[in-house]
């Protein structure tokens, strides 16, 4: 029998080392693993490369949690790979001072790059970003007389994701728009830690409704209701 995957947020944060490349799920505040992020802030692990949709907010606003914004304010991120940083001015500041490197990627391209890594593809061809700064240094490939950018797979060391219902084996269901990048990141990292809003027994989730298989999940943290 396999041993339990359930650990505390504190132990989970200890699994992350200086210099790691993290993927963190969420779209602004929605569907981000807030408890894991808070714990990562407490531990002050530095020099992180973080791949995520956006740079969240600079601080919690009422019950809207800041998301990865806190890690930026905390200066724990040396390289942010993201699609949007407009909601957290601290990111732009650190980019301008050179304290943090920021790589901006179109959202659909980022999603496919993460998926390509998880799915064993060498890359995908997209029309997005053609004739813009995004095409810089990228290979262009013509297929049936149409031009595309070759976008490469993007991997991470650790994925921090958020699940709504997670069984003890690690099967995950997401709720509403919390899904976003979470299931893609779960397949693209060496280790995957899921913060579960609710943990249930194996067999309680209808196999038709599981979105991420337990085989991708290494650790489960009880996130509880936020």
């Amino acid at each position: 029998m396999s041993k339990s995957k359930i650990i505390t947020a504190e132990i989970a944060a200890d699994l992350i080392r200086e210099g790691d490349t993290l993927m963190i799920g969420g779209f602004l505040s929605c569907g981000a693993p807030h408890r894991l992020i808070d714990e990562l802030c407490n531990k002050k692990v530095e020099n992180l490369t973080v791949i995520c949709n956006d740079s969240g907010f600079a601080e919690d606003i009422g019950n809207i949690k800041a998301g990865i914004g806190k890690l930026i304010v905390n200066k724990q991120i040396s390289h942010l790979i993201s699609t949007h940083i407009g909601t957290n001015k601290e990111t732009g500041k650190q980019m301008n001072t050179g304290e943090a490197k920021v790589t901006l990627v179109p959202q659909g391209t980022l999603a496919e790059q993460i998926r390509a890594a998880g799915f064993g593809l060498g890359g995908i061809l997209t029309p997005t970003g053609l004739k813009t700064e995004v095409e810089k240094d990228k290979q262009k490939i013509v297929v049936d007389r149409k031009t595309y950018l070759l976008e490469k797979p993007m991997r991470g060391d650790v994925a921090l994701i958020k699940g709504a219902i997670v069984d003890r084996k690690g099967n995950i269901c997401y709720s509403k728009t919390e899904r976003n990048f979470n299931p893609l990141m779960a397949m693209a990292c060496d280790r995957v830690i899921v913060e579960a809003a609710k943990i249930v027994e194996v067999g309680e989730i209808d196999p038709d409704n599981v979105v991420t298989s337990h085989i991708f999940v290494d650790y489960i943290v009880d996130g509880g209701k936020l």
Partner: protein
């Protein structure tokens, strides 16, 4: 009429029964308020929902259900949630009929710039580059000028979001179509003259003989 309301109301008229529509943040979001009653429009939001409903009543917000701007929303009956790859598959794959979004600049050949002012503001492109590349129609809905400076240009001076993808421009002064023959002013706002528009516009545009007046209640 408030110019933003005029723009939103006029943009709403571009939507047809059965359309799948993605609205950008800000002014474009207002368009949803003005669709004809009984019209079957499905709103998609790139953060992962097909079938976006109206804003929830105060106190009924669900932190797990937002639009791409992070605002609480609701889901209509028959809605669906999906991951970001699927969301952009829907967008990039040409399954969104219309996207309506704002811009910093648009050119007469349909180029659009809305993600970066070098040295000043770099919010990032978010989903805009995919939306502009993938949607069947790209309608820019924006105020005609920014602090008196024209935003409709011969050529964009700001970094592009995409080249040659805009199909329509709707401002408080008029409605433009980007065609093979050039940009055409198809409708003009009441109490506005073609001369007014020319002064507020850097781009060249054609004025057809049968130009109409924007008809909004």
């Amino acid at each position: 009429m408030n110019p933003k309301v005029l723009i939103a109301k006029r943009a709403a008229k571009e939507l047809n029964d059965g359309n799948v529509v993605n609205l950008g943040i800000g002014l474009p979001t207002m368009v949803a308020n003005y669709i004809e009653s009984g019209q079957d429009i499905t709103f998609q939001s790139e953060n992962g929902i097909m079938g976006l409903g109206p804003a929830p009543e105060k106190g009924n917000e669900d932190l797990r259900l937002t639009n791409a701007g992070g605002q609480p929303v609701t889901a209509n009956p028959g809605a669906m949630y999906f991951d970001s790859a699927t969301s952009f598959g829907i967008i990039r794959g040409g399954h969104v009929d219309v996207t309506i979004l704002g811009a910093l600049q648009v050119s007469q050949s349909g180029d659009i710039a809305n993600w970066k002012i070098p040295g000043k503001m770099v919010p990032g492109m978010g989903g805009a580059m995919d939306l502009v590349s993938g949607a069947k129609r790209v309608i820019v809905a924006m105020l005609h000028t920014q602090k008196g400076n024209p935003k409709i240009m011969k050529k964009c001076s700001l970094p592009l979001t995409a080249a040659g993808k805009v199909t329509d421009i709707i401002t408080e002064m008029g409605v433009f179509k980007i065609t093979n023959k050039g940009m055409v002013l198809e409708e003009i706002a009441p109490d506005t003259t073609i001369d007014d528009i020319k002064k507020a516009t850097d781009a060249e545009f054609l004025v057809p003989d049968d130009i109409k007046t924007i008809d909004i209640k």
